[in-house]
């Protein structure tokens, strides 16, 4: 037993000596109307319906660069504070892959459109007490072609073997590859970077940013550094969900640690992440040491960036203003986690934006967050869809927030009203249509908080008199009875007395020997 304990301690010390070093390559599919080098539309379609001769590498066809892709690349460069090269050019990267029709990918290896940038973002996590700001170095931005897709069909009968079908619709679509320096230390840092970046590229209309559609694909280089000595790195390819990036990087760190800790050596290799985020060796020919036999793409002249293009990109970035999460964080005062969390959920964001529009400036982000949490719990309990989508509800919600902070309604009363409004104001039922404004409703049903201390005393005294037995038990220190008594009074007064006040008055009465 002590042996095991000892081993754990030493393992922990060992682990501390290894520092994960993570670098990312993020492939962003641009949302241009046409492909990178052909006039082929990029709209969704059935397989192989978005293919011009160039896209399927028809011999004799030539690339011609889409200026919209340059424009987006320049905006991306600005977003990532990169230095835009005066000129850049394209290279052919050779490897055989069935869904890459030319036998090479046109990319920018040696002279990318932009390089040497940096990007800052907040890192937050449930295991962190406070979020921290992290800045990462961007090594380069390169414009490149996407590949097609291969669909593998299993064998259908004994005569027919398995088949591979190829869809070239995606072949030749524009990607920007963002290469970071290996400056991430945890999987959390990596995913916060990707999440933040994603929201920004959507905001600036560079990409539709839909992860499940592969608009953002991430490769991660992972190694463990021991006492500043770099370790062998592996590359996890083609991850397209935040969860996969998180679990796969953590899995890979743990896997490499296990190997190193048992005196093994980490193989330099390409790995893929499976559904559960475990990394598995790809054992494919395009391994880390593949020689891509780069040559300059001879059919495209050098790309020289004009001053006016830079200006246009800059102006557009400026006029686009802050992204939603930045607005929530920097203007309204939401914490970094909530800002990202809200911005990532379109329904939630719509709700919050509505609330902010209707907000009295004295209502703080914390208050909104607090009541949103209450609302969520309430709605989930009554099996309703959170958040409510109507403008009407948002108005009632913000009115309630104001009323409770002005102490015109009690906390408990607000909870009840939230439940009532959230369950009956949504939809097109007759009830929803005839629902009045919450202020009117409160007045009509006389639900305002009782503010007059004498009236409170009178009501409490009266109700205590009617429940002498409970009063007696409570006076003898029975807290259950005290609570029952309190709840009873609460119900009887329709939750119109502030809970703290009520308790105080009750205690005062109980301390007196008799009523």
């Amino acid at each position: 037993m002590w042996r095991r304990g000892f081993a754990t301690v030493s393992q922990h010390q060992q682990k501390a000596r290894y520092k994960p070093v993570i670098g990312l390559e993020v492939h962003v599919q641009l949302n241009t109307k046409t492909k990178l080098f052909s006039r082929c539309p990029t709209t969704d379609s059935s397989p192989n319906r978005r293919v011009l001769p160039f896209d399927m590498a028809t011999p004799g066809t030539l690339p011609s660069l889409n200026s919209q892709c340059i424009h987006r690349a320049l905006k991306m460069a600005r977003l990532l504070n990169c230095h835009v090269s005066e000129w850049s050019r394209f290279d052919r990267k050779h490897y055989f892959y069935a869904d890459m029709p030319a036998g090479y990918q046109i990319t920018q290896n040696h002279h990318p459109i932009a390089k040497n940038g940096n990007f800052g973002f907040w890192v937050f996590d449930e295991h962190l007490d406070v979020p921290y700001w992290k800045e990462v170095q961007i090594l380069q931005l390169q414009l490149e072609q996407d590949s097609g897709k291969t669909i593998h069909l299993p064998s259908t009968s004994s005569e027919e073997g398995p088949k591979s079908l190829i869809d070239y619709n995606r072949a030749g679509c524009a990607l920007i590859e963002i290469v970071t320096s290996p400056c991430f230390e945890t999987a959390i840092e990596a995913i916060r970077f990707v999440q933040t970046l994603r929201l920004l590229i959507i905001h600036h209309n560079l990409s539709n940013g839909e992860l499940h559609k592969g608009h953002l694909r991430v490769d991660a280089n992972v190694s463990l550094e021991k006492d500043t000595v770099p370790g062998t790195r592996t590359e996890i390819k083609n991850m397209n969900s935040i969860r996969t990036i998180h679990t796969a990087i953590n899995f890979e760190i743990a896997r490499q640690f296990e190997i190193l800790n048992s005196n093994g050596t980490v193989q330099k290799e390409t790995r893929a992440a499976d559904q559960d985020g475990r990394t598995v060796s790809m054992r494919e020919k395009d391994d880390v040491d593949t020689d891509y036999r780069f040559i300059v793409e001879p059919n495209l002249p050098k790309l020289r960036i004009k001053e006016e293009w830079l200006k246009k990109a800059e102006e557009e970035m400026k006029s686009a203003g802050k992204a939603d999460f930045e607005y929530l964080r920097d203007v309204i005062g939401f914490d970094p986690r909530s800002s990202i969390h809200i911005a990532e959920d379109p329904d939630l964001l719509a709700f919050v934006k509505r609330c902010i529009r209707l907000r009295d400036s004295s209502v703080s982000a914390e208050e909104i967050l607090y009541w949103m949490k209450q609302l969520k719990t309430t709605m989930q309990r009554s099996k309703c869809n959170y958040p409510p989508q109507s403008e009407f509800f948002a108005l009632q919600f913000m009115t309630l927030l104001n009323l409770v902070r002005q102490r015109r309604l009690t906390h408990l009363r607000v909870l009840d009203l939230l439940r009532y409004y959230s369950t009956s104001s949504e939809g097109e039922s007759e009830e929803a249509m005839t629902l009045e404004d919450v202020t009117e409703f409160v007045t009509k049903h006389k639900l305002w908080r009782i503010e007059d201390p004498r009236e409170i005393e009178r009501l409490v005294e009266d109700l205590m008199r009617k429940n002498e037995k409970l009063v007696e038990k409570a006076r003898n220190g029975n807290s259950k009875s005290f609570n029952r008594l309190r709840n009873l009074i609460n119900e009887a007064t329709e939750k119109r007395i502030d809970m703290e006040e009520l308790c105080e008055v009750m205690k005062r009465f109980l301390d007196q020997k008799s009523i």
């Binding site: 069935a98 029709p101 780069f294 040559i295």
Partner: protein, 448 residues
């Protein structure tokens, strides 16, 4: 219409010479009718089968034996719009690799200047052999060829016609199946330099589909040779040059001198490296350009398809000839990380040197005159017995113009003592295509 019918008749008559890979007589007739309707004068055109036409395009390779392209090359569309009628797609060396037009998948092109047998024949030159013979036999008024290291000028010289390679970029490469992208130029065969210029005007102009295309500047051109500075590079008088070719080269210079041109001996010492430079650069581009023939979406598909890689390898091995495979192999070798600096980077430097040297020469002279080839066309048996090394000897004279991107034209200057044609090559500075054609025409008019 009559001209088109007579072209078709001739094409049928010369079938045994292997000029065409595919005949498109009906298409030509339709194009002729369309042209007449539009008030244009139809004229017969032959197009090298490395330019895309939506009828079929093979590059003389089994790889593309059954290939139907989804589009036409820009030059094809442009010539048809001017009244050109495509009689057929002409035979060539497989994927333009060679200067004999002898080893293509669909059989050799045999020169029409002498009787051909099935065992031996007079080489028409190459790689645009079929196009040259189509003009020489009078089938076509214009034949479109391509020229990467001499593929138009060489067969033009061997067949006694004009072969004109314009400045790089003046003719769009869109739809030209590439050999070496930075050297390739669509080119023109015709029976006079004047026609060469006329056709160039019809075909040229910026093409959005080719980012390297350029506009020809409007220039006056010239009407007299008087005062023209003509450079004669000493290095082109090499050990491979035949007496016949040497004499006719001198003859051409003499004609120009008699017309009061100023003859200036110049030196182009790095030209002798053009062959080595070209071999490396071309192999690298070829390895890259040929990578698309993986038999997935089009092209010859082998029956061996147990794995994707096996399918690639066997489809390519089965359908590409040895010349092509050797160059792919060499190119991939020279592009490897450990060799690229040794070969590719060096070759690029040499190319710049050759190019600069020629550019410098044009500070002193208006035009450079050289032989087009070592001598007259060889027989197939000669080439075969010397393992095609003579092809390299001939390339020596023509490659530099491609490396420098300048216009060059081969002018039929006379005949060797065997009675076969010999050409001289004129080269001018970049974008001086009109001047070049003017001089070629003036020179030719004095030859007769």
């Amino acid at each position: 219409m009559h001209r088109i019918e007579s072209a078709i008749e001739k094409a049928v008559k010369f079938r045994s010479h292997g000029i065409f890979i595919s005949e498109t007589f009906e298409l030509a007739r339709r194009q002729a009718r369309d042209a007449i309707e539009k008030g244009l004068n139809p004229f017969p055109v032959a197009v090298k089968d490395c330019f895309l036409t939506s009828t079929s395009t093979t590059c003389a390779s089994q790889m593309l034996e059954n290939y139907t392209p989804p589009m036409n090359a820009t030059v094809v569309d442009r010539i048809v719009a001017k009244g050109g009628c495509i009689i057929g797609k002409t035979n060539l060396d497989e994927f333009c690799m060679g200067t004999s037009s002898a080893l293509g998948h669909f059989g050799p092109v045999k020169s029409a200047l002498s009787e051909a047998t099935s065992d031996d024949w007079l080489i028409p030159g190459g790689s645009s052999g079929g196009s040259a013979v189509a003009v020489q036999t009078g089938i076509a008024d214009l034949a479109v060829g391509s020229d990467t290291g001499g593929s138009t000028r060489n067969p033009a010289a061997f067949n006694g016609v004009f072969g004109f390679k314009p400045t790089y970029g003046v003719l769009s490469r869109s739809g030209l199946i590439p050999l070496v992208n930075s050297l390739d130029s669509p080119s023109i065969f015709a029976t006079s330099a004047e026609s060469c210029w006329k056709y160039l005007e019809m075909l040229s102009g910026i093409d959005a589909a080719d980012s390297t295309s350029v506009n020809l500047p409007e220039i006056e051109g010239i009407k007299s040779i008087e005062g023209l500075k003509v450079g004669i590079p000493a290095e082109y008088n090499n050990e491979c040059l035949s007496d016949d070719a040497w004499k006719l080269w001198n003859h051409a210079a003499n004609i120009l001198e008699r017309q009061k041109a100023q003859i200036i001996p110049i030196s182009l010492p790095t030209t002798k490296y053009s062959l080595a430079c070209y071999s490396v650069l071309s192999a690298a581009d070829i390895a890259s350009n040929m990578a698309r023939y993986d038999s997935v979406a089009y092209g010859h598909r082998s029956k061996m398809e147990n794995s994707t890689y096996e399918m690639y390898a066997s489809s390519r091995s089965e359908s590409l000839n040895t010349v092509v495979r050797k160059r792919i192999f060499a190119g991939n070798y020279m592009l490897m990380k450990q060799y690229r600096e040794l070969y590719l980077e060096k070759a690029l430097k040499v190319r710049r040197k050759i190019s600069n040297e020629i550019r410098d020469a044009f500070k002193k002279v208006d035009i450079i005159i050289t032989p087009t080839a070592t001598g007259t066309a060889p027989k197939y048996s000669e080439l075969r017995d010397t393992l095609f090394t003579k092809e390299d000897d001939d390339d020596y004279f023509t490659q530099a113009a491609n490396l420098a991107g300048i216009p060059a034209i081969s002018v039929p200057i006379g005949k060797g003592c065997n009675g076969l044609p010999i050409g001289v090559q004129l080269m001018a500075n970049k974008l001086q295509d009109k001047t070049l054609c003017n001089i070629a025409q003036l020179l030719y008019s004095r030859v007769l």
